[in-house]
């Protein structure tokens, strides 16, 4: 039985802004089902005695820093790798919906 449907793959592709051909959708749906099927084997393990973790470093806490200013980038440096800029701002394709 399929774990992920072709429609779900199409939906996730849309969210990730990826355009797939019908052939690709078929192929990736099959491949993803193989991968997910493999991973599903983990579900056979008994984890009832294991604490859920949000990180691979179990028990560790995120370090905190003091609220002190660091030196950042100058505007020129910040904009240096942008494909397009205007008046100190990043210029991007129009996104207003």
């Amino acid at each position: 039985m399929a774990i992920i449907t072709r429609e779900e793959v199409e939906h996730v592709a849309l969210l990730a802004r990826l355009a797939f051909s019908p052939d690709e959708l078929d192929r990736f749906t099959a491949q993803l089902n193989d991968i997910l099927g493999h991973v599903t084997r983990l579900g056979g393990l008994d984890t009832s005695a294991v604490e859920p973790t949000a990180s691979v470093l179990s028990g560790a806490a995120t370090p905190l820093r003091e609220d002190e200013v660091w030196e950042g980038l100058t505007r020129e440096e910040a904009l240096a790798s942008a494909p397009a800029t205007e008046k100190g701002l990043f210029k991007v394709p129009r996104v207003l919906e």
Binding site: V12, L15, S55, T62, R65, P93, R94
Partner: protein, 519 residues
């Protein structure tokens, strides 16, 4: 069916999602400054620009401020919470995701008591979590360069990207636009008292996105919610929700359906307009932020923050009534802003110090010694709520400005003005002019009085001469007064005021006239 009747068939159910920028010096995950109004893209670094390979490091003060807010709202602070990535593509997020908290937020539960029309209602709070702000998009134009409508591009300023935010989500416990506004004002007050944010709605450091649905009166099932954005003032929140109530009621009454969508408030036209269909939460593909370990708080730290909580508005209002004998209304107005209340208490303490011996000892709070203090406390309250507020409004100043060292009317100046009236040097009417002069020049009231020669004539010898002259010149008025016509008194006092250029102490003139006429 008229709109009024259709509206009365439905009940609005409103929940508020409020984002507040925390007043830290630096951003949530990097050391870039958070100064408002800096030139675009001058407060950025590889972390808040989302360059590859960088790692976020959480700001301790942002955590402290968020915990403070959660505790003041009676929430349960979780000693372990988890950051998550919220994924979506929009250029205000340079990383392609926002670092936020999802299934394990910093705090859950809590409540806020809200007063509408003298009635107190408890609004439950669902959660409070930490997240980062986004950059700012400027659509189809350049800042200050005029809008190039239809421009095929947008411009981005990432100064705000990564500024720490708390998101505070209420339960759908609000029923009217007025309640929603009252909730937001109460929340604003708490955050201002806590000092965790400058909470300026116009500048966007406090943003409110309500969602509202309608259901037939008497039913339980919730209707389809609509989210409203672009509400930049308390008034806009109330107006936007009122408009949306009408719009949805008219739709439903006409057999239509409300769509789940996001609408924008148009301040000029006073309407909401369609912005976008609401994506379902799953589409953000939240997952635990791999670059940050769980946020673990020491219980001791949380307790230390709890102990550091300042007195909040409700407690302060009650204390002002108790300690200074203020009417509840006055105390409510004065404590609406922490800064105004601080100013007020500074002024009253100066009076208290000057009254010295009359300060009541502990345990004798209701003794006769409190009367002069209570009288002065009320007088100062009157000035603040009346003329001082008016002058502040006219000058476009917010209460925070009253705490600046350079403020033209520091508490000591207001106390001096009150003393000038009390001791009879100037009349209450003249005091208004002196106040305005002090407010605009910063010169102390006594200096203004001396400079303008405003001091009242309170010397009884000098006044007697004038009163005698007026009494002699107006025998008919004197006769009327003797016959018990009080109107004549007004006339005689008026004549004395005229002769003295308005400088006579009216109370003394009154006494002198009565003495001479023998009425």
């Amino acid at each position: 069916m008229s709109e009024d009747t259709s509206r009365s068939r439905y009940q609005a159910v409103i929940a508020l999602e409020v984002h507040v920028e925390l007043g830290t010096r630096t951003k949530a995950f990097c050391g870039c400054p958070t100064t408002f109004g800096a030139a675009p893209n001058t407060q950025v670094c590889p972390i808040c620009l989302g360059h590859p390979g960088v790692l976020p490091v959480l700001n301790r003060r942002a955590v402290e401020f968020a915990v403070k807010a959660a505790l003041a709202l009676h929430g349960q602070v979780h000693l372990e919470s988890v950051f998550a990535r919220k994924n979506y593509f929009y250029p205000d997020l340079p990383k392609g995701y926002q670092i936020t908290q999802y299934d394990r937020p910093l705090a859950t539960g809590g409540h806020l008591d809200v007063e509408v029309d003298g009635e107190s209602r408890r609004v439950r709070i669902r959660r409070l979590h930490l997240e980062e702000d986004t950059g700012k998009l400027i659509h189809g134009g350049t800042p200050g360069g005029g809008a190039t409508t239809g421009a095929p591009y947008s411009l981005v300023d990432y100064n705000r990207s990564g500024v720490p935010l708390v998101e505070i989500v209420s339960e759908p416990d609000l029923r009217t636009p007025a309640e929603a506004r009252a909730y937001l004002e109460a929340l604003h007050s708490i955050l201002e008292y806590l000092g965790v944010s400058d909470v300026r709605m116009e500048e966007g450091s406090m943003r409110c996105e309500p969602n509202i649905s309608l259901r037939p009166v008497g039913t339980e099932k919730l209707g389809v919610p609509v989210e409203i954005k672009n509400l930049n003032s308390f008034r806009a929140v109330e107006r936007g929700l009122a408009y949306e109530t009408e719009r949805q009621a008219a739709l439903l009454a006409g057999g239509g359906r409300v769509e789940r969508e996001t609408r924008g408030w148009d301040e000029g036209a006073e309407v909401t307009t369609f912005q976008r269909r609401k994506e379902s939460a799953d589409d953000y593909r939240y997952f635990p932020e791999p670059d940050l370990l769980p946020l673990v708080l020491e219980q001791d730290w949380v307790e230390a923050i709890r102990r550091s909580l300042p007195e909040l508005r409700t407690a302060r209002r009650e204390r002002l009534v108790r300690e200074y004998g203020l009417p509840a209304y006055d105390a409510g107005v004065l404590t609406a802003s922490r800064h105004l209340a601080d100013y007020y208490e500074d002024a009253v303490e100066l009076v208290e110090a000057s009254q010295g011996a009359s300060v009541p000892t502990a345990g004798a709070a209701d003794g006769p010694g409190t009367a002069p203090l209570h009288a002065a406390a009320k007088t100062i309250s009157n000035w603040l709520m009346g003329d001082v507020s008016r002058l502040m409004n006219e000058a476009g100043l917010e209460p925070l400005a009253m705490r600046a060292k350079t403020f033209a009317l520091p508490p000591a100046a207001l106390v001096e003005l009150v003393a000038l009236v009390d001791e009879g040097t100037i009349s209450g009417k003249m005091a208004k002019d002196v106040l305005e002069a002090t407010f605009s020049t910063g010169k102390p009231p006594r200096a203004i009085v001396a400079e303008k020669g405003l001091a009242q004539i309170s010397d009884s010898g000098a006044l007697e001469t004038v009163v005698a002259r007026v009494v002699d010149a107006n025998p008919s008025a004197v006769a009327e007064l003797r016959a018990g016509k009080d109107r004549a008194m007004g006339f005689l006092v008026g004549q004395v005021m005229k002769e003295t250029g308005g400088k006579a102490n009216p109370r003394m003139v009154n006494e002198l006239v009565r003495k001479m006429v023998g009425s």
